[in-house]
Symmetry: D3
Subunit: 218 residues, 6 copies
């Protein structure tokens, strides 16, 4: 049976569960298995470049150890840590959720806005957008400024996401929104309804790409 392995590079099991929820609709009879795993060696959350860089080796090692099991791999952290290293340790396709979210957004509207959790992420995201050569489709990036401990307050998180999403639509002319973080799937639909814009959940976008890479005409 074909298998897509989705790796949450932080060690927080609750995030992996939310990732699992994001990809559940893509599990179809006859389709590939979609396995969501937690990287045990990861930090509780990836909140800085150093956090991101720290998971590269464990991630690459994990992917190497699963090479024969997986038909495609997904790195489920928006900063795509270790994406290019991972592609070096396996011949199977490896997808980064940040890259896939942006690519998917291009097919839904002229310009995408990113909703970040923390202000600090915005600089990293801008480098990512520029490295991807997608600056001219990038409307802007705004943070909800909620720390990890605050993410449990779902009503508040959603409210801030809606606020930020509406600002991206009105003041930055975004036509599609990207959730700039894994593990936020439950907020996708209400955010779409409240802003009137399509909302891309990044792990879902990447697993969709992985499906396409596996279910390919021979």
């Amino acid at each position: 049976m074909r298998r897509i392995i989705v790796i949450n590079p932080n060690s927080t099991q609750a995030v992996t569960q939310e990732i699992d929820r994001a990809v559940e609709p893509l599990r179809l009879l006859e389709g590939p298995a979609i396995e969501c795993v937690t990287l045990k060696d990861g930090p509780p959350g990836i909140e800085s470049q150093l956090d991101a860089d720290k998971v590269i080796l464990p991630l690459s090692n994990y992917i190497r150890s699963r090479e024969s099991d997986g038909n495609a791999f997904v790195i489920a952290c928006f900063g795509d840590p270790g994406l290019h290293s991972a592609r070096q340790v396996t011949a199977k396709p490896v997808f980064g959720i940040g890259e896939c979210a942006m690519a998917t957004a291009l097919t839904r509207a002229d310009r995408f806005g990113i909703i970040s959790i923390l202000q600090d992420a915005i600089g990293r995201h801008r480098r990512t957008v520029r490295a991807a050569g997608l600056e001219s489709r990038f409307a802007g990036d705004l943070a909800i400024d909620v720390g990890i401990q605050g993410l449990g307050d779902e009503a508040m998180v959603l409210e801030r996401m809606i606020g930020v999403g509406n600002r991206l639509r009105k003041d930055f002319d975004a036509g599609v929104l990207i959730m700039g973080c894994a593990g936020m799937a439950r907020h996708r639909e209400p955010l779409e309804k409240a802003t009137g814009l399509p909302v891309i959940e990044p792990t879902h976008a990447a697993v969709t790409m992985a499906l396409g890479a596996i279910l390919i005409p021979q």
Copy 2:
């Protein structure tokens, strides 16, 4: 049952059949139906900007007439004719195969090369790449220069595609190839093997995106 409607805007039934073949692997139990239709009012082939512009109205009319049947629409011509008009006549997502092929290619390598059928298409493709804001990921576009009547000679077509694909890899530093035309699915796998690069079949890429838009976490 959910349904993706793929419209071949030229009237050549054989092309629709080849499109059908491209998307066959994406038909899964429990997944959306994927219906490939031929636009009766289209020209036999779309070989110029005027051909492309001519199909916009019939395409929009067709999509409007199927609005209640389809959960997503795909315009299966690489030039994405009428994409923005189509998005105006339906609230359902509409995907262009050119746009989706380029977006998908971004997730597989640093720079994409396009294999065109006719030399004349290259100028149109370049405008499309620029309008998409993807110039810095674009390696180049080369034509196999085979007219519609010549496309039946499959061995020759594949041989030229391989020649052009290898030039895009070696001389233009392309890391992924896009087939710049619908209806070429049968050549995808041999082309991939002969060039050593991933090859994107554009209708397949667009239907994958459509699946993602439909099989979405609520």
Copy 3:
């Protein structure tokens, strides 16, 4: 006698008259005739991508039918509908007023601002600017938000244009203004005086280009 044929692709005769007024100063003894015509098959106004796409075939047919009469053609709608198709049906030069207005603006100041009629046009214009590769000279695009029926209230239209023009100058650092619509010639001079910036009337810009293409050193 040489002749420039200017086609108003909407069927509103009053717009054609205003276009005629725009180009009147370019009618010179010994110079080419400048004929302004209304496309009978066009919609009353072009307010959407679908409206724009609908006129492409009638426009191309009209140009083909006048091939032997005209030394140059001008498509007098800011979105340049059918420009590339039109260039395919005639060997004579064809000019789009949007393209010519932007090109002309480049010669007057560092960055141009566009004054649109409707908010909806802004997204289309942004795609046009990007497809033209002119993003780094583009200051911004603001709408006066007046529907077709409101355009008769000239004082109000001018007042809003001045308001928007001044915002483009002060907040967006535009050094030249483009009227993002045909048929506004009467407001050009007062707008220039009120904002202190050169104002480009797009049909006038295109007919100037057409003059240059005809009155050429042999």
Copy 4:
């Protein structure tokens, strides 16, 4: 009577005569006078950045001295020396032939190629293209490598221009050619015929722009 003053910033009278020939077709009854003058203080030819910079002050002084006579000024050297300074000393519009040639080329084809006289000019032209923000419409720049003394051999000059023009078309995919030097008007038409591409003579392009700026709807 309205007047466009075209200034040849080099002191070679023969170049001014050839400039005069370029703009002759734009002299129309009822149209503005077009006066071509030689800047006495200029060097015999402008072949380097230092040559270009040397003429800025005399040019500005000359324009200031003619302020009340001229309705528009044209600086007839492809490098547009002193364009921004000139705009500071007069409220009348000032056009640079390099800028106007590129702007005009945008309205004729997707990408322009430049034919330079000397290899050394190419670096300066590239800075100019980049400063103009027109890199994505720029196909390439090739030199005919003929020194000032060689320019008298017209047959050889034309032959090299055709050779370079054809290379720009075939190898660089240029759709329109720009003569990257004033004083070459006599070669325009044969070059157009031999290459099959429209050819922009830069002073002619700038005087056309100046006509548009003067013959303006009030």
Copy 5:
């Protein structure tokens, strides 16, 4: 003994003294001499494009006259007047302080903001940034709007610089600040402390580059 010659192209001796102060920390035992000179033929201040263009010839002449004395030259005006001409009259490296300040800023943060003295300079700086191909690293440019006579009021100047610097950090997301004018060295450190961002003094940046060009491994 090796020597870097820093030329203040305006004739104001006080500015040269402040430039001298900027480079004093780079004078090291065994290191090159750093000589700061005033261009006698320059205007009291360079406040416009015409002022800038006026100094090109005297600057080039001065550099030529010192060719045998200097191992490197620095043009100490932020607009880098005559940089390309100067490079033509000497084989020694010539540095412009604007260019060097931007290059240095790239190594300190993702995006640089420029603090200008006068509003009028902003347009010139934007052309410079675009010509340098550095638009995507450019956060913004704001002026303190103090005329030459006001620059003596140091407390006010510093206060405005801090205000503008903080706006560039907060509203424009600048990560490093560039002083867009020579002769402001005394404000560098307090500005850095007040804004929390690294501040580049442009003449210091250029002399550092010149040191690197001289103290080179053989």
Copy 6:
């Protein structure tokens, strides 16, 4: 005494010695000490993205351990591994030699070419150039294709560098060359002489920047 700490992230002592040679001319009486160290935990050479990612943690740890000793840090590997993480663990400025080499090259000519050791590095370098926003100043990147064991054959290495450097000058129009690898200082001067272009040794460029950051006006 002030101190710049230059870290060779590979464990090959001979490379550190060559780095030391590169920076020797920047050691001046009264200037900062320049200490070149070998990262013990690094691989023998950094030849892939995975190699580069592997050194990030040891590098960050090392920098943290030397925080109080160093006034500035230099990461002496052309790919700038861990640069953003390193900036997070210390408040002292951290310089990457790739970034500094490109920034320095901007001040010497219009476009820079990169000489790489291995073909594989070119893709990584292209991502780096794009992430730096410097595409429009980038002429090209060519490899000498010599493995680590071959680098000992100095005559052959220099000969290939000269060959590649001359191709970058002639065919890619590079005006300055960057050595795309640390530890090549001995070839800098002969390469400069043989190609006629300035050649940037990257560690030297970064230490120059570090000097500027330390020897700063207060």
